[in-house]
Each structure stands twice: as structure tokens, then as C-alpha cells.
């Protein structure tokens, strides 16, 4: 470590400086590098792609526009003739009224920038398509270089060719130990084992490094490391975000990503599954699970939020995530207006949104229940799957038996009817309320004989009814009936009453059993008026997990109408019927997808006339409520609507229609055999529901919206301001839609993965490069547009991208190619002069050095200390976190894991968006609210405090000391062992001296303060090794803590 590395001959530095100075030739400026950045930044805001903001009819982002004769009669650019080019006159003018850019824009040009534009026009004003929009070439020639020894692969030829033009030479290869540490962190996010380093240092086989790389790429740690990177892009978090920020269970998606990287799923297939795994020709549960990627956006449950506003936000987040993570462009700019710099129109934005808006989803999640917002994918265990199949089969058998039995009951019916002397009675109601009086305490009498009482709230009154008095409702008051109607989706029931409305209701609640409307995802059952029509539903989570039927005809206004809803307990829309005045009415099925329970949310009583934050039944009256826990026959419902119907039918029992109706009554309510079979069927359904209720669910995409939504361009991105409809499409300026591809997410994947797509492969390759060099070939890895930074090595980027595509999008091969290149293997040390001339290492005349990511710093320390728990996947864990952080923000409390959750890899750390883990964010990890593909790397004192004082790090220091003390007794050997574990190299003699002195002094001082020694060794939940002398352990713990604080411990060099 002590040797210096004068890598550069001083004269070369002078040449480099001279070359830089000469980069201002008098001839044509480079359009990509010099001209476009000026035009884009200063001119495009008013003369660019955004048609809405374009001034004077001038468009400078396309060649034709720049030549056009303007409204004023002038031409902005006359190629070769600056003097007659209005652009030049304007930028040279001193008249504030005439000068461009206009002074109030505060975008003034410098003299040098004016010169560039003028020289460009003088040289012919040639345009060139922005490099990133050009199709990926089929073939990228590798430059010939005169050095046959240094280049190991084509990467090196590109780099060396560039170095030659700057009269630079590459750095020598990094020392062996350093190389292995770098490869280990770069490929797995973990340091190497000391023994592996020693073995590698001694392994002089020519392929020693390649073998080490293959070993690293073959480890599951590689997959975890790659996943950690994708989690940022996918805005993965364990909570929904926004203010209440409730828990959600999406870790199964994270594990799917780990499995995909572990088996080196080709990147094209990986993306296809993330975007459209449910739409593949033969989708699997695993491929469908991948689409949770598109649902990881934030959602809110804040009371009073407008559902459509947030649904639109969800879809927009998908567009922008694909923009940043896959296309590397800032599509978000085109949400409100045409992009000001890049060729994306607002219609392009909403064209993409149309492709991503096919799910039957809500904009809000449920506050009162823990329902998984639809669409949701079931993730049953193998046992559950078996049990489920068995239970489903049993239901099928019983339904069949019931059908057979029903057909065979003719004799029994005849016998029953023949034995009847009076009309059959309507019995078995679980609640009958006539609303004839309200008791002083606000309760209501139940005439059903169950002695249950109804309750009233906000003082409904009584007034003239269909029979005697009726309940008068004002939209805010209600009556509710605890215990009278506790139905599950497996229970048949009938609910009937008279209703009189006095106006057309766009929406109003007649009755329901549910805690709330959107605040509960409408969990429960309900009868509403929607656009004046009866609408009955059973709902687990609206809209994707529910049944709903809506009457075709509006409900009559101004008189008492008898309305009844009958449900057969089948979880099918066909089993849900509506009756008006005792007669079944025609309905349309709006939803038919109920698969989970309808109880929950804290609602326990059938309620009339009003619901939390919903529209009540204003100006209406309800009378003669009857609740029956079975599916009544039509004639029985007619009896409720007009008493005497049964008697009338009984009197005419030999006429066919009446006899048929009576037969139905018998089968529904009086046949013991069918009653028994229906009971068995209900039990079988309940048994199945019990299995279903325990099955884990996760948000995914599914193209299951019943009526395809029409996408609109939204003025200013405002959900309330729909402009013209927009067809599903991808930005054609990048690449035309593939011929014959479906206009859906699968087609979008096909478009993205076209072998000539200008962006997908370039962006992917650039991010892998960024992982290995700390900086992409395009440094702005999130923005390949005209405002992003241009690549210094555009040909290398293209070659890598082409190679990547041609390799079958093989990620491991790409990593291997990069890290085995001579370029990557260079030493990162260099002379200060080179550092000053090329501070960002753009030319790659040295190896990379950069601070490790938050995860790698923590995981590396855990690994070195021996505490790291190497379990892969599973629910997220809650390691040490300073107390009170959740509590002071929201009242939820952070429960630290009691055991191994403290020591898992950081990609498993629980991510709460509104209070992200500070051990991560202090080291520049984001809060995962939106897609992010590049983290900052800052240095601040809070990081020092974290490494010095976080119990996690104090504990790793003590654990490292413990294991070291057991490994060897010699103090120097202990120091070497410890240093090797933390920074993967042997210490220098000077370092050893400092450390020996440290241990000696601290041991002496701890000997005088045994309580302090014990206290230090007791930090953390990992048990202290009591076989070790506490004074000794404390001294070595202090040293280990110092080592973990080293710059070298947190930096990749």
C-alpha cells in the first residue's frame, strides 16, 4: 500500500493539455457535442418540440423548421450565411426587445456559445439525429490498435484507441487482492473471504481471475446484488407510501426477481415478464408474479381523496418508471405538455398510458380492510393448492347433486301441495321491521320474533308509509339492524323493502352492510341507486373482486316501490337477482369476479339510507324491511310486495303458472331434502372460503377491465381535463410499432425489445457499466435525451449493446465481459495530474474507485464479522433502527426483529416509504417513492456517526473481534486477520504499528474501567462470547470499529 504509482509520463500530460486547448478549431463545431446542447437548453423551450409553447412559428429542433420562412418573412437559419440568418442577428443584438434568448428567460448565451452557433451556420448548419435516437447498429466496428498485449477484449480496444488520441497509456493491473475485492463487491455486493484472497494471490494460472469471476457469478449473492439494484428502479417498498403509508406484502415479487437473476433469465425475457408476464402465450404463476413490477407505485388511502385522480397517478407512474428504468428518458415532462427537448409529444405519453391501463383497479387502497387492491394474484402453498382443488371438486359435486335432486322432486312437490289445506306460510325471516314507531332510545321493533332491535342514528323520523308508517331519510340519518343480516358470500339471502324516492339519484345508498365506500374498497354487500337504477353488489374489493348487477330500467320516482335483492350463495353474478314490485327485472352484469370474503372492515349491521363518506338516500322513505336467510322463491317475494299473492296462487294451484310458482316455493323453502343438500353445499363453500382466506395475494397486472378504458390526453396532466382520445401506442419517433404486434403490454414489450431499438439495450448496458465503474458511459443513466450527458465512448456503448442483444441478452456474459477486460482491471491509483485532468475518469486511463452503496457497506461489515445470515428471500426484516422514528411521524411502531432478521442482507431490510431505514438513507439510498436508477454518493458527518455509533456497527466490530481472537493468538497475526476481513489486504508495517499501539493502550485503559469494557462488549443482541476476557475483547472491538470506519472499508478501489 505504500508504493506510489507514477503512471503518467509528464510530457504526456502536457500533450493532453495541449490537445484539450486545441479543441476549439475554427471549422464546423460538432453538432452533437457543441451545438445541440446550446439549442436544446436555450432555444427549445420556445422553439422546440412542444407545439403548445412554440413562438413565432419557429422550430429549431428539426432541420426543416430551422430553414423555414417565418411569419416575419425572415429565415432563422440561412445555411452558410450567418449575416442573413435572423438567429444570428437576434443572438448578437443588444436591444432587449429583439435579443434572443429573451432577457426575462434568464437563459443568456455566453460569447463562446454565440460563436459556436455562428460558426455552425457558417459551415452549413448541418443537423444530425440525436445519437440516442439512432437505431442500434447491426454491426459496430472495433477500432484497430497497435498494442496486442493490453487489450483482452473489444472493450479495451475502444478504450485504448481513445487513450491514444490523448497520448495516454492505461494503468497497470490492480494488485491481486484489490482485484478480487473489487470483483467480489461489484458482482455480489459482499467482500471476499480472506482465505480466498490469499489463494487467489497465489494462483498464477492465466485464467485464475476468470475462474474467480465465474464463481462469483454463480453464487446466489450475485442474484441478490443485482436485485438490490433493480429494487431502486422498480420503486420496491414494503408500504404503500403517501401519508398513512400502510404495510403491503410485495416481497414475493422481490424473490421472483432474485430467482430470475439467479438462473440468468435473459434480460429480454426478464423485461417481457416484468411488463406482460400475464399475457405470454403460456403464462405461469411465476411470470404473472413478475408484473407486480407495474403495481409497485405508491397508492393512498387518505380520506377524501378523489379515486380517479389517484388511479390516473398510478398509470402515469408506470409510464414514467418505464421511461426512466427501461428507456432512459424523461417521459414525465410530456405528462403536461409536449416534451421541451426530446421528441416526445403529450400524445406519446398518453399513448403509453393507454397500454398500461388495462387492469381492473382502483385509485385508492382500502383504509378499513387489508384487502390486496385488485388485480391480485394468488400465491398458494402446495398444500393450499391441493386443499383448494379438493374443496372445489366437492362444491362441484354438490351443485350437481342439487341440480339432479331438484329435477326429481315432482312427486314430493305433488305430495306436499296435496297435503296443504292453507296457503304455505312465509317463515324464517331473521328480521322484519315495519317502522311503526321509534322507541325513546331510538331503537326499532323487530317483528320477526328474534327480539333483535334496530337502531337509528342522526334521528330519522316516521311518516306515511306503504303500510302504516315508514322511515323518513334525509341522506345523513340511518337505521341499522345488528345481527339480522350477517351474511357471508356463501350464505343465500333475500333482503326486501319498500322504497320511495323523490328525485333522480346519480348515486345513493338504499341499504348496505359495509364500513365505507372507497375507504373500505366497498367491502360488504349493498343495494344502491346508480343513475336512478337499482344496483346490487357483493364486494371483497371494488372493482376487481366483486359481483354487481344493475337493473336496466330506472326505479320509479314518487311512490312506494317494493324492491328485493336475492342471492343464492354461489359467488356468481347469475345467483344475484333483483325484483321490483315482486317481479324479477332485467339486469346487466357489471362484475362477476368475487373470489374472497365480503365481511370485515368493522361493519356488522345492515344499514338503511346512509354510509360513511357516501351519498345517502336524501328525501326518501323506506318501509317494511324483511331479511330472510335463504333465497326466496319469486312468489314469496311477490307475497312480500303484495300480501295475498301466495293465497291467490294457492287458490289457482291447478293452473300452470301458479302451479309452477308454488313448485318454486316448495323447492326454495319447504323441501327437506333440498334444504339438507343446500346446507351441505353452503358448508362446502364455507370450507373452501376458509382455505382461500389464508392464501397470500399480491398486486399484479391483469388485462381484466371489463370494458376497455379509453385513454385521453389530459390537459396539463389534470385528470379532470380530458382532451381528445388517444390510441395505445409507443413513441414512433423512437421506433415504429412492430408490425402485427398486439396493442397491449405484450406488444409494448415487443417494441422495447426490438433488436434495433435505439434505447433498451443501450440503457441496460449503461447501467451494468455504472455498477462496475460507479459511473455510466452515459453518466446521466436516467436521461439519454438531448439534455442528458453525451457518452465519451459512444461506439463502445453501441458495441456493448449490440453484443448484449446478439448474445441473447445474457446478463452474466455481459458482467463477465466487463470485469475481465483490461480496462476494468486497471489500478485505480494514479498521479494527481491525471486526476485533475480527468477527475471523473471519463477516459478510463485508470480503474474505478467509488464509495460503496449503503447495502454493500452494511452487508460487508456483517460478512466480515461473521454475523451475516445467508438466508435468501422471504418477508422483509427489521434490523436495528433508532427508536421512535416511526412513532413520531405516524403513530405506528417499529418492532425490531428478535433474531436473525437483525443480520440479513440489506436488500431484505423493511422499506417504509415515509420513514425509510436511516442506516440506508444516510448513505444515499432513496425512499423508493419513485423509480430511481442512479444514487448520489455524498459524504457527510452523519455517515461518520452511523459507522461509529450505530449498534449494528458496534456489534459487528465486537463480533469481528471475537472471531479474530479465536482464530489466532499472536497480536500481529490478529491484526492481519482483522484487516484482511475488513479491507481484503494485508496491513502495511506502519499500519500495524498504529494498530498495535491502539490495542495496547485501550486494553490498558479498559483494564482500569471494567464497566466500560463490559458495556462496549454488550452492545447488540448477538450474545457476547463469555469465554473471552472482556478487557481484551473491548480493546479489539475498539480497533475493529476503527477499521470499519476506514475510507478503504467503504470504498471500492
Amino acid at each position: 500500500m505504500s508504493q506510489r504509482c507514477p503512471l503518467l509520463v509528464p510530457t504526456m500530460l502536457l500533450l493532453l493539455a495541449a490537445a484539450r486547448a486545441q479543441q476549439q478549431p475554427l471549422d464546423a463545431p460538432d453538432f452533437d457535442r457543441e451545438v445541440r446542447p446550446i439549442l436544446a437548453d436555450r432555444c427549445f423551450p420556445c422553439h422546440g418540440p412542444d407545439a403548445g409553447k412554440r413562438k413565432a412559428g419557429l422550430r429549431l429542433d428539426v432541420e426543416d423548421g430551422s430553414r423555414a420562412t417565418l411569419e416575419s418573412g425572415e429565415r432563422a437559419i440561412v445555411p452558410g450565411d450567418p449575416a442573413n440568418s435572423e438567429l444570428v442577428r437576434r443572438i448578437r443584438s443588444v436591444d432587449p426587445e429583439y435579443r434572443m434568448p429573451r432577457p426575462e428567460s434568464k437563459l443568456a448565451l455566453s460569447d463562446a456559445e454565440r460563436d459556436v452557433l455562428e460558426r455552425w451556420i457558417a459551415s452549413g448548419a448541418a443537423y444530425r439525429t440525436h445519437w440516442a435516437w439512432r437505431p442500434l447498429p447491426d454491426l459496430v466496428p472495433v477500432p484497430a490498435v497497435d498494442d496486442a498485449r493490453w487489450p483482452r477484449n473489444a472493450i479495451d480496444s475502444f478504450v485504448l484507441a481513445r487513450l491514444r488520441t490523448h497520448e495516454l497509456v492505461p494503468a497497470p493491473e490492480a494488485p491481486r487482492a484489490r482485484l478480487l475485492r473489487r470483483a467480489s463487491f461489484a458482482l455480489t455486493g459482499l467482500p471476499p473471504e480472506p482465505d480466498d484472497v490469499i489463494a487467489f494471490e497465489r494462483d498464477d494460472a492465466p485464467d485464475a481471475f476468470e475462474r474467480a469471476v465465474d464463481r462469483l457469478l454463480g453464487s446466489v449473492a450475485y442474484a441478490e446484488h443485482m436485485t438490490a439494484d433493480w429494487l431502486d428502479a422498480a420503486r420496491f417498498a414494503d408500504t404503500w407510501g403517501y401519508q398513512s403509508d400502510v404495510h403491503r406484502e410485495v416481497w414475493p415479487w422481490r424473490d421472483q426477481v432474485i430467482r430470475a437473476f439467479d438462473r440468468n433469465l435473459p434480460y429480454d425475457e426478464f423485461l417481457r415478464q416484468q411488463l406482460a408476464g400475464d399475457l405470454l402465450p403460456s403464462p405461469t404463476r411465476e411470470s404473472a408474479l413478475a408484473t407486480a413490477f407495474l403495481r409497485l407505485h405508491r397508492m393512498t388511502n387518505e380520506g377524501g381523496s378523489v379515486e380517479e385522480e389517484y388511479r390516473v397517478e398510478s398509470v402515469c407512474d408506470r409510464v414514467e418508471t418505464i421511461g426512466t428504468a427501461i428507456l432512459g428518458v424523461t417521459l414525465g415532462c410530456a405528462k403536461c405538455h409536449d416534451h421541451k427537448y426530446d421528441p416526445f409529444t403529450q400524445r406519446d405519453y398518453y399513448g403509453l398510458s393507454a397500454l398500461l391501463d388495462d387492469a381492473d383497479e382502483a385509485g385508492l387502497y382500502s383504509h378499513f380492510t387489508d384487502a390486496t387492491p385488485t388485480p391480485a394474484l394468488w400465491l398458494p402453498t402446495a398444500d393450499q393448492e391441493r386443499e383448494l382443488a379438493r374443496a372445489t371438486r366437492r362444491i362441484g359435486e354438490l351443485e350437481h347433486a342439487l341440480r339432479i335432486a331438484t329435477a326429481r322432486r315432482a312427486d314430493a312437490f305433488a305430495a306436499w301441495l296435496g297435503a296443504l289445506t292453507d296457503p304455505p306460510a312465509l317463515t324464517g325471516a331473521s328480521g322484519v321491521f315495519g317502522f311503526e314507531s321509534i322507541a325513546a332510545d331510538g331503537t326499532l321493533d323487530d317483528a320477526s320474533g328474534h327480539a333483535r332491535r334496530g337502531r337509528t342514528a342522526e334521528g330519522p323520523t316516521l311518516g306515511p308509509g306503504a303500510v302504516g308508517q315508514a322511515l323518513q331519510l334525509d341522506g345523513e340519518n340511518n337505521a341499522s339492524f345488528p345481527g339480522a343480516a350477517d351474511f357471508t358470500r356463501d350464505d343465500p339471502f333475500t333482503i326486501a323493502c319498500f322504497v320511495r324516492v323523490t328525485e333522480h339519484h346519480d348515486r345513493a345508498v338504499i341499504w348496505h352492510r359495509s364500513r365505507a365506500w372507497t375507504d373500505a374498497g366497498s367491502r360488504g354487500y349493498e343495494l344502491l341507486l346508480e343513475d336512478g337504477r337499482l344496483s346490487a353488489a357483493l364486494i371483497h374489493f371494488w372493482p376487481g373482486n366483486a359481483l354487481r348487477v344493475v337493473a336496466r330500467e330506472p326505479l320509479p320516482i314518487g311512490r312506494f316501490v317494493h324492491v328485493a335483492a336475492r342471492y343464492e350463495g354461489s359467488s356468481r353474478a347469475a345467483g344475484l337477482s333483483l325484483f321490483v314490485d315482486g317481479v324479477p327485472v332485467a339486469t346487466d352484469v357489471v362484475r362477476d369476479a368475487l373470489t374472497r370474503e365480503i365481511e370485515g372492515g368493522g361493519a356488522d349491521a345492515l344499514t338503511l339510507g346512509q354510509r360513511f363518506r357516501d351519498k345517502g338516500l336524501r328525501g326518501a322513505a323506506i318501509d317494511e324491511l324483511a331479511v330472510v336467510p335463504r333465497a326466496l322463491a319469486g312468489l314469496e317475494i311477490a307475497e312480500l310486495a303484495a300480501p295475498g299473492a301466495l293465497r291467490e296462487a294457492f287458490a289457482h294451484q291447478n293452473e300452470a303458472p301458479q302451479r309452477g310458482a308454488l313448485r318454486e316455493v316448495f323447492l326454495a323453502s319447504h323441501d327437506q331434502e333440498l334444504t339438507r343438500l343446500r346446507g351441505e353445499l353452503r358448508d362446502a363453500r364455507r370450507a373452501r372460503s376458509a382455505i382461500v382466506g389464508a392464501i397470500r395475494e399480491i398486486v399484479t397486472m391483469r388485462d381484466d377491465v371489463p370494458v376497455p378504458r379509453i385513454a385521453y390526453r389530459l390537459e396539463r396532466g389534470n385528470y379532470e381535463r380530458r382532451a381528445e382520445p388517444v390510441e395505445p401506442a409507443a413513441p414512433a419517433a423512437i421506433l415504429p410499432w412492430p408490425k402485427g404486434a398486439p396493442r397491449n403490454r405484450l406488444g409494448l414489450a415487443q417494441w422495447l425489445l426490438d433488436p434495433r431499438h435505439p434505447l433498451t439495450a443501450r440503457v441496460a448496458v449503461n447501467r451494468i457499466w455504472q455498477m462496475h465503474f460507479g459511473r455510466g458511459l452515459v453518466p446521466t443513466s436516467e436521461d439519454f435525451g438531448t439534455q442528458g450527458q453525451r457518452p465519451v465512448h459512444p461506439e463502445l456503448l453501441d458495441w456493448l449493446a449490440r453484443r448484449f442483444v446478439d448474445s441473447g441478452w445474457d446478463l452474466k456474459a455481459l458482467h463477465r465481459l466487463i470485469v475481465t477486460s483490461s480496462t476494468w482491471r486497471q489500478d485505480s491509483r494514479c498521479a494527481p495530474t491525471l486526476r485533475e485532468l480527468d477527475p471523473d475518469n471519463e477516459l478510463l486511463a485508470r480503474g474505478a474507485s467509488f464509495r460503496l452503496a449503503a447495502e454493500a457497506i452494511r452487508d460487508g461489515a456483517l460478512f466480515a464479522s461473521g454475523l451475516l445470515v445467508r438466508e435468501v428471500g422471504g418477508p422483509s426484516v427489521k434490523p436495528y433502527q433508532p427508536p421512535g422514528l416511526w412513532e413520531e411521524k405516524s403513530g405506528t411502531s417499529y418492532q425490531e426483529d428478535p433474531g436473525k432478521g437483525l443480520w440479513r442482507r440489506s436488500l431484505y431490510t423493511y422499506q417504509k416509504r415515509t420513514s425509510p431505514p436511516p442506516a440506508m438513507t444516510t448513505l444515499d439510498a432513496g425512499s423508493r417513492e419513485v423509480c430511481s436508477v442512479r444514487r448520489q454518493r455524498t459524504s457527510n458527518p452523519l455517515q461518520a456517526l452511523l459507522l461509529m455509533n450505530d449498534p449494528q456497527h458496534v456489534e459487528t466490530a465486537r463480533s469481528l473481534a471475537q472471531r479474530t481472537l479465536h482464530e489466532t493468538v499472536d497480536r500481529r497475526a490478529r491484526i492481519e486477520r482483522m484487516v484482511r476481513r475488513v479491507i481484503a489486504r494485508a496491513p502495511s508495517p506502519g499500519e500495524v504499528d498504529v494498530m498495535l499501539e491502539a490495542v495496547a493502550e485501550e486494553r490498558a485503559r479498559f483494564a482500569a474501567e471494567p464497566a466500560a469494557a463490559l458495556a462496549l462488549c454488550s452492545v447488540g443482541k448477538a450474545p457476547r462470547d463469555e469465554s473471552l476476557d472482556v478487557t481484551e475483547l473491548a480493546a479489539w472491538t475498539a480497533l475493529a470499529s476503527t477499521l470499519f470506519s476506514l475510507d478503504e472499508a467503504v470504498t471500492l478501489r
Binding site: M1, D245, R851, T914, E929, V930
Partner: protein, 463 residues
């Protein structure tokens, strides 16, 4: 290039102070210093989270009281959207305040009986009764106030100032956040003081009541300050070896980072320890201020931070979200906050700090003039109302004893001199010597600023 690189590194790795002139060209916000002479050098923003009712504190409406119980006229609402909480109510009954209002001070400012301490300092305050915002739910509304955008991800106002101006104290962060401890109500979130796309060191640093005011500030048990010093000395020696071997200036930054952390281990406890305050301080702020984490204690702590050169101190006090039982709720919040808010203004004035310290008080929106839920003679609730609400400001360059803007007779819409959130932001920046249109940061190819493409300095508010 040489010099720029060195300065850039210093700036990037320091905690501020020299930030202003030392950032790289691309990053440098104020290349020539401030845009104009500042009227204020620091800001304390007392954020009342949840949305206090302007109608019960500052904006008396006799007409509303007179028409108590009548329906909100459609001509007043003009079809504007309501939240989905009261938007479905069958009736929207007008609800006059049950609290008594009186005019106070020489300026004759109206303040209700709920804020007795504030009534005594109204001549120092500038009331804005015509503030309005765009968001109607808490999260987007508070995000809008903090970042100038309803969409999460932009830098908070304190981060903008930290980035643009840095700190006058090298041993303390430039942007400090203090949250009243133990409050219920609507949640708040770390991103409200987040740096957005600015370098993450510009994130607000929360000082928390209790032993560790800053996360991990305290040494572990068994490591006392002398031992920590010895450990850091050895670390420094090892770092110097590494620097000599690597030639990487980032190692110098790492050394500086540890030294600053060590200084913070004494500077932060020093500033947060209120025990050295004289009895007169507690006579002013009240005995509540002796309990760490109370609003009053945070007001006092804010003064100590401002005194030491912290640029931007932001208090958050939750639980003003009075949808129901407003009279009970607002009494309780006022009792907790009135004395501290007023004491801070007085205290700053006594110390001569008020003239260059800007004090801002307010929440994310106002509350409706109609009752959410049932209206009774003693009880009512109010829903979120973005169309008009009141802020008060004081100190650094504000026009004292002035009231700006007015609402209509029912207190539903702004009647004159509207002030948008962007305008308030522009005005705050202006007072600090910054042209809000020129404090821009390039991110994802676009120049961003706190005020987006809007904002107007409200000169009528300036002294």
C-alpha cells in the same frame, strides 16, 4: 480547473458555510453571491400540520355567524371540488365560529380568544388572509408547501436554502427540523424535509427530543469522549497513510467528515441542552418549554439554533385536522402552541435577531366555512379548504402590523389580493436575497426551481 476542483471538493464534502461560491459551475446556484441585498439571513417556519381553521383564529365572519345553519350557497361554491369526505354530504350547513374575536394592538388586527398570547404581539406581525393552494388532501398539500409541487420528489424549501446559502455555523447543519413529540393526527413523513434531487447532504436534519438529538450522535456505552478522540486520532493517522498511497482527495473529505462528526458530538448537545437558560426564558416560553419535545421547547430550541447561525429551522406540530369536534380540538392545539409561538417572536426581538430572521406560521390549507358532520350550537367540524386561509409572518423585512388580502363575507373565496403558495415561496426567497427565478438546479435535463414556473414576490408584504 485546478482551483475549481479543489473548491468543488471542499464544498461537496463540507457541511456548508463555504458552499455558496464553491460549487461546480453546473451546480453553483448563486455564482455572484446573493441576487440582491437580503432582508433576512435565516428563517423559522412553524408548520401547523393538519390545517388550522382560519375562521376560528384570524378571519372573523359576522355574516357567517348570522347565517349559521343555512346551506352553503351554490353561487359561493361555484362548482369547485370538495373532498370526498364532505362532498357527499346531503347538506353543507354554514358554520359560524363560536369563538369571540376582537381587534388588538395599534394595528387593530383581528385575533380570536383562542390565541391570547398572540394578541399581545400583533403589531409585530404581518397577516396574510388570502393565501390559497391547489391541493385538497393532506399529503399533496403539505408536499406542495414544502417543495412547491404536489408530486413527491422535489427538494424541500429548507434544502433549497441549504444548497443555495449554506450555513453560518460549520458545526451544525444548515437545515434543522423539530417535530412536536407525542402528537396524534395526520402523519408527516421524512421526505417533507428531503433534498429531492439536490445532493443528499442538503436534507433537513431532524433534532429529536431525548438523548440522541441527531441519529447515532451518542457514543456507544464504553466509549467516552477521550477514547473517541483517541480512536479518531488513530483513524486519522490510518487515513493519512491511505491518502499518501492513493492520492485521492476523497480521503481528505473523509477525514473532515469524521472531524465534523466529532465536533457535532459536542455542538449538538450544547445547543439542545436547555438547562443553561435563565428563569426569565421559561417565564417567557412557559414551563412547557422545560419538557423536551413540546412545542414550546422546540420554539426555544429554534431560537438557540438560529442564534448559532442555522439557516432554516422548521417546526412541525401535528393534529390541526379538525373534521369533527373542532371547538375541542382547536382549543387544545392553541393551548399547546400559542405561548411558544408568541414567545419566540418576542425572544428574537429582544435579542435583536428578529430584524434579520423571518418567522412564518401556518399550515397546508384552511378549513371550510360549512360544517362537516352535524352542526350544533356548541359543536361542528370543518373539512379541508384550499381556497383561502391565513398565514402570519414576522421579522426580517416583513411589514409589521399589516394585514394583506381579504376573503368574502362568508369566508369561502379570496375577495382581494390573493397570495398563492408559489408567491409566498417567492417572497421568502426574495427576503433572503434570492431571485426565485434564478435559483435553479438542473435535473433530468430540466432546470427546476422551488416556484416551478410561477410565483410573484408580494411586495405589499415587505417593510
Amino acid at each position: 480547473m485546478n482551483a475549481i476542483t479543489r473548491r468543488a471538493l471542499l464544498a461537496r464534502f463540507g457541511l456548508g458555510g463555504i458552499a455558496l461560491r464553491a460549487l461546480l459551475d453546473e451546480e453553483r446556484p448563486l455564482p455572484d453571491g446573493l441576487h440582491h441585498a437580503p432582508r433576512a439571513r435565516r428563517v423559522v417556519w412553524m408548520f401547523q400540520s393538519g390545517g388550522p381553521s382560519q375562521l376560528d383564529l384570524f378571519d372573523p365572519k359576522p355574516e357567517l355567524v348570522r347565517r349559521n345553519g343555512e346551506d352553503l350557497p351554490a353561487s359561493v361554491r361555484m362548482g369547485q371540488r370538495l373532498t370526498a369526505m364532505s362532498g357527499n354530504q346531503a347538506r353543507l350547513p354554514l358554520a359560524g365560529s363560536i369563538f369571540r374575536f376582537a381587534q388588538h394592538g395599534d394595528c387593530g388586527a383581528w385575533v380570536s380568544e383562542l390565541l391570547p398570547n398572540l394578541t399581545r404581539i400583533v403589531d409585530r406581525l404581518c397577516f396574510v388572509k388570502s393565501l390559497h393552494t391547489e391541493a385538497i388532501n393532506h399529503d399533496p398539500a403539505i408536499t406542495f408547501f414544502q417543495t412547491g409541487s404536489q408530486i413527491a420528489g422535489r427538494p424541500s424549501i429548507g434544502s433549497w436554502l441549504d444548497w443555495g446559502l449554506g450555513s453560518d455555523n460549520h458545526d451544525l447543519p444548515a437545515y434543522v427540523v423539530l417535530v412536536t413529540k407525542g402528537k396524534g393526527g395526520q402523519p408527516i413523513y421524512a421526505r417533507l424535509w428531503g433534498p429531492g434531487f439536490l445532493p443528499s447532504k442538503h436534507e433537513g436534519v431532524q433534532f429529536r427530543a431525548g438523548q440522541d438529538a441527531v441519529l447515532w450522535l451518542k457514543n456507544p456505552d464504553g466509549i467516552d469522549p477521550p477514547r473517541r478522540r483517541r480512536m479518531l486520532d488513530r483513524l486519522r493517522t490510518l487515513h493519512e497513510f491511505a491518502r499518501d498511497a492513493e492520492g485521492d482527495p476523497a480521503i481528505d473529505a473523509r477525514i473532515a467528515q469524521y472531524e465534523l462528526a466529532f465536533r457535532m458530538q459536542s455542538s449538538v448537545p450544547e445547543v439542545t441542552d436547555l438547562r443553561d437558560e435563565p428563569a426569565s426564558t421559561f417565564a417567557l416560553y412557559g414551563d412547557d418549554a422545560r419538557t423536551p419535545g413540546t412545542y414550546a421547547a422546540n420554539c426555544l430550541l429554534a431560537r438557540r439554533l438560529l442564534e448559532r447561525g442555522v439557516r432554516f429551522v422548521q417546526l412541525f406540530h401535528r393534529d390541526w385536522d379538525h373534521h369533527g369536534n373542532l371547538p375541542g380540538g382547536i382549543r387544545s392545539e392553541c393551548a399547546q402552541t400559542d405561548r411558544g409561538s408568541a414567545a419566540l417572536v418576542v425572544d428574537l426581538a429582544r435579542r435583536g435577531l428578529l430584524e434579520d430572521t423571518l418567522v412564518v406560521w401556518g399550515g397546508e390549507f384552511g378549513r371550510t366555512n360549512y360544517s362537516q358532520g352535524k352542526l350544533t350550537p356548541q359543536d361542528y367540524g370543518r373539512d379541508h379548504h384550499p381556497r383561502c386561509f391565513t398565514y402570519w409572518l414576522a421579522g426580517g423585512g416583513m411589514r409589521a402590523g399589516h394585514t394583506h388580502g381579504a376573503t368574502d363575507e362568508l369566508g369561502y373565496n379570496v375577495a382581494s389580493d390573493p397570495v398563492h403558495v408559489h408567491d409566498l415561496h417567492a417572497t421568502v426567497l426574495h427576503l433572503l436575497g434570492i431571485d426565485h427565478e434564478r435559483l435553479t438546479y438542473r435535473f433530468q435535463g430540466r432546470r427546476y426551481r422551488l416556484t416551478d414556473v410561477h410565483g410573484r414576490v408580494v411586495r405589499e408584504l415587505l417593510a
